[in-house]
């Protein structure tokens, strides 16, 4: 059993907006291309050109429907590590390979120490762990630790790859431990929620629910002349209409 560090003030994480995610997979493939040559790379792909194609992805988008018929909704749900405050994947690790950083809360795996027992994958209720069968070690979202502090990258782009590439502005990155951060304010404003809080792992990432549909007035035209029912031939209305350029 690996112990957790004293919780730090800084809780880096993602805020994912289910109102605008269209399921385009940009976050998934951009994550993969960044990370396959990144800190935890490679992200290998088994049977890439035959049956049973299956690779390591730190970020996956699931699509499903909620509700019946027209009242229902098609939901696109991006899923990656939630960087929990009390992550079971860390405490379950027999070697200490799985760890949580005190300075920013990022959950990582030291692959040199990982024995590939996959207990962490069993422990994680969110399915966020990705086993690299090729190397026999566990891998996972690093929150792009090699981007977010990277001074070789322009400051505005020092965010996880999934955030910088998202065309629908559905992904936001920041310090959820700071109530004044943009992401914390966004969560407060939009009623952001955590996934399965009842399990007690205190995920850092938040999801924003779909907004309510805006109301548009569909009543009768306010300044219309006679009601349609009073007109036998609506064309006649136009005979005396004075229009000019």
């Amino acid at each position: 059993m690996t112990s957790l560090p004293q919780p730090g003030a800084k809780k880096l994480g993602l805020v994912i907006d289910l109102d605008t995610c269209v399921g385009c997979q940009a976050c998934a493939t951009n994550c993969k291309e960044w990370n396959t040559s990144g800190h935890m790379g490679p992200l290998p792909d088994q049977h890439p050109y035959s049956a049973g194609q299956e690779g390591v992805w730190f970020n996956r988008v699931h699509s499903y429907e909620a509700g019946d018929g027209e009242a229902g909704r098609t939901v696109h749900f991006p899923r990656s590590c939630l960087h929990c405050e009390t992550p079971a994947c860390v405490t379950v690790c027999p070697t200490g390979a799985s760890y949580k950083r005190a300075e920013d809360g990022i959950v990582l795996v030291n692959t040199d120490m990982c024995i590939g027992c996959q207990l962490c994958a069993w422990a994680c209720p969110y399915g966020a762990r990705e086993f690299d069968e090729d190397q026999g070690v566990m891998k996972k979202c690093t929150l792009c630790i090699d981007r977010i502090y990277n001074e070789e990258i322009p400051e505005a782009r020092r965010v996880p790859a999934c955030v910088s590439t998202c065309p629908a502005n559905a992904r936001h990155f920041g310090d959820l431990g700071d109530p004044d951060s943009d992401v914390s304010k966004l969560v407060a404003e939009r009623g952001g929620f955590e996934l399965m809080p009842e399990l007690g792992y205190k995920p850092v990432n938040r999801y924003l629910p779909p907004r309510r549909a805006p109301k548009v007035d569909a009543g009768p035209p306010k300044d219309a002349g006679p009601l349609p029912s009073q007109i036998t031939n609506p064309l006649l209305r136009w005979v005396d209409k004075v229009l000019s350029r």
Binding site: A28, P48, P94, N169, K222, A224, L235, W238, L243, S244
Partner: protein, 951 residues
Amino acid sequence: MPADGGATDRIITSAPIGDEVKTTTCYMCACRCGIRVHLKDGRVRYIEGNPDHPVNKGVLCGKGSAGIMTQYSPARLQAPLKRVGPRGSGEYAEISWDEAMEIATGWLKHVRETDPRKLAFFTGRDQSQSLTGFWAAQFGTPNFAAHGGFCSVNMAAGGLYTIGGSFWEFGEPDWEHSKYLMIFGVAEDHDSNPIKTGLAALKKRGSKIVSVNPVRTGYSAIADEWVGIRPGTDGLFIMALIHELIRTDRVDGEFLVRYTNAPWLVVRNPGGADDGLFARDADGKPLAWDRARGAILAETADLSPVLVGEFTLPDGRRVQPVFHLMAERYLGAEYAPEAVAERCGLDADRIRRLAAEIADIAFNHPLTLDIPWTDVWGRKHGTMVGRPISFHAMRGISAHSNGFHTCRALHLLQMILGAVDTPGSWRYKSPFPRPIPPGPGPAGKGAKPNTPLAGNILSFTHGPDDLLVEDDGTPLRIDHSFSWEAPLGLHGMMHTVIGNAAAGNPYKIDTLFMFMANMAWNSAMNPLETIACLTAQEENGDYVIPHVIYSDAYFSETVPYADLILPDTTYLERWDAISILDRPIGSSHGPGDAIRQPVIRPDRDVRPFQDVLIALGARLGLPAFTKEDGSPKFKDYPDYLTNHQRTPGVGPLAGWRGEDGSKKGVGEPNPDQLKRYVENGCFWRHHLAPEESYFKHANATYLANSKAMGMQGQSNQIVLQIWSEPLQKFRLAAEGHGAKQPPEHLRERVRTYCDPLPIWYTPLEQQQHDTEPFPLSAVTQRPMAMYHSWGSMNAWLRQIHGSNKLYMSRERATAEGLAQDDWVWVESRSGRVKAQLSLMEGVNRDTVWTWNAIGKRAGAWMLSPDAAEAQRGFLLNHVISEWLPAQTGPRLANADPVTGQAAWYDLRVKVTKVAPGEEGITDPLPTMLKPPPDMPAPPDILRYDVAETRR
């Protein structure tokens, strides 16, 4: 206590991404986003969106981000190939480029010297059409087109003949100001990143998004309201909205009289040669009926027109304003919501509510921007006032045989609302608007040996005289475009080329030359029939299509059917242009164009297709590609891009023209032009001044500047066309007027469908066969992670979409005794295909659908034959016929009767459970394709990691 992993974990947080970064333009779809390609030791480390680029502003979609796997695909062709076995056998010999060029030159030279029409040159989703089309005209064949005819020509033609612009490359919603957006048939496509970014911006501002679509996926999934309409009935729904707006008097009369032909007078002379044409003065200028002065020039600045009534001109002709005819038609009971409701699969009350919502936004919430501007009459306005309601539409309404009129109806709806290029509404992307319709008719008449055709092959017909037909009405083009079968066939009809060539209709060809078009598989209606045409032999054993040349970068399903393969580079390995002469990257903020530069050196014996084409042009002695001494005029494509001038001062790229690079649009060639593009991130853009930003069809400043930059030849007002006179001219011919007459078997068809006002009709295919046994509509869409993605096999993307199922409404399926994951036969009038079923809520109950182009033929793309794509992936194409049901007379394309657009989505099917034992694998299952020689063996495991050495 275990050790602390963090204490010993080596994390390099500040490594350089790569050792080099180059900008270029993405080509994973047609969206033309700017990308930054990071390289490490000569390999691609990372591709990201270019934050400075006007199209994508730094974001990049799922396809673009998977470009690495397309770049390093094992399916990349390695060297030129010559067929040495029967077509389809896959027997090829590698040959040198010298030999390949000699073979191609030999075939093409003979064709050009004898009958250039016998070259059919068709390119796929080709972004170099300003070169390929020009090359075809120089060759002298009218038989050129790209993939527009089977994609969205209805959309393009509907828009360009109505408002002088269209959706997608021609226009966009005012993302910054719209308060309501209604999208039609926009599943996951056209265009990619700008729509996603735009939808997010609209939602952030609290604007309402309504998606009209039989299927609730993609953009429809995040719409505030999903309208699950029946396929092919969008036009009827739109006309019902128009009916409601006119009935309740929610019409922008001021907009109509200023900017449209609503006040123009139409001659009423049933049976006469001028019936339905505009009443014009001696100079040919249209007339309107002024309240005080009677008939005067419609362009008169202080016109106060009467829009309703019937008048007599001094010469005795009876006339009525366009508005009268339009309003009369759509007030008709057949367009009332209750009359269309059942057919559309929607409640009448809901249609009325949507009309009321649209009207509320347009008329109760006008948007005023404090921007002064000057109109074409020279009058200065202190503000710009707009209707903040916008529309966007795409293939879902376009790919029907009634799609042209549906698209026109949508533009009519925009005009009635006064929502064309105003603040908050749909806006033109520069260089649009263009005159309606633009320019001279299509080139293609009088093709002769060794002689170029003058003009553009794909241009705009203005009436019967512009058609490309013999005196007896026989088409001049192999695809029958611009004939009476498709008088407005402005993107060609690629879907008919191979069938017509095999049938010798209207004549046999010698050489079929194709570029990046997978016509033996997912780009064909009925691929097995297309393959039969490609392999058909004469009695003496010769192929009916004697020569097939194909250029592709990948081992696609079409490769085995060509005699000569010219292997292309990938998009990261070549120069290219998103040319101002074709469909550039302009936006509502101003014109722009872009280039691609090579960022990777090819590791195979391949050449950029455009270089090859230019070299072939020189070998064939095409005048524009040859110097006077017969030597090549251009070294390669970059040389052409820099130095070719279509007209003096106008070339493929508009930026940094002139010797010192100081000119925009028009200017002498600049030897450093490409360098300047590269320095600027591989794109050029010009920002319109605020006073030019809206009302571009009638904005004096915009129109004058647009002309000065060479974007168009004139600066007159572009009057939006509710009543389409070119269509009426075709109709008059069908009524017996004029020298150019349609053949008898098409007369009634031309008369019916060349209606000068938008109409709705049951799709042709459904009119012509008994649909009773086929109760379901069947449609397809590409998934968002693959839309328009021609290098269609990608190691990462195939993990997301490796096979496809047939989706059906749960309620409907349950009622028919079908369950999730059942294997079913999908049967149409022309065939059947086997698929696995998936049930869902978000689909119209009379519709089934699937993802397109997931299914692959076994062996193709270097996939192993057990791949899911070949075993469980299926193409709905197998049950779509390229021809309408058998009629008397010559066969006709399953296409729009006005534009020739392939009517993919008119399909009707029945779905039944397979017999026990038939489950588990799709059908038809054509034989496995044999790969060309020397293709690399695909790996069993991929460990892509270019930074390995760093860690």
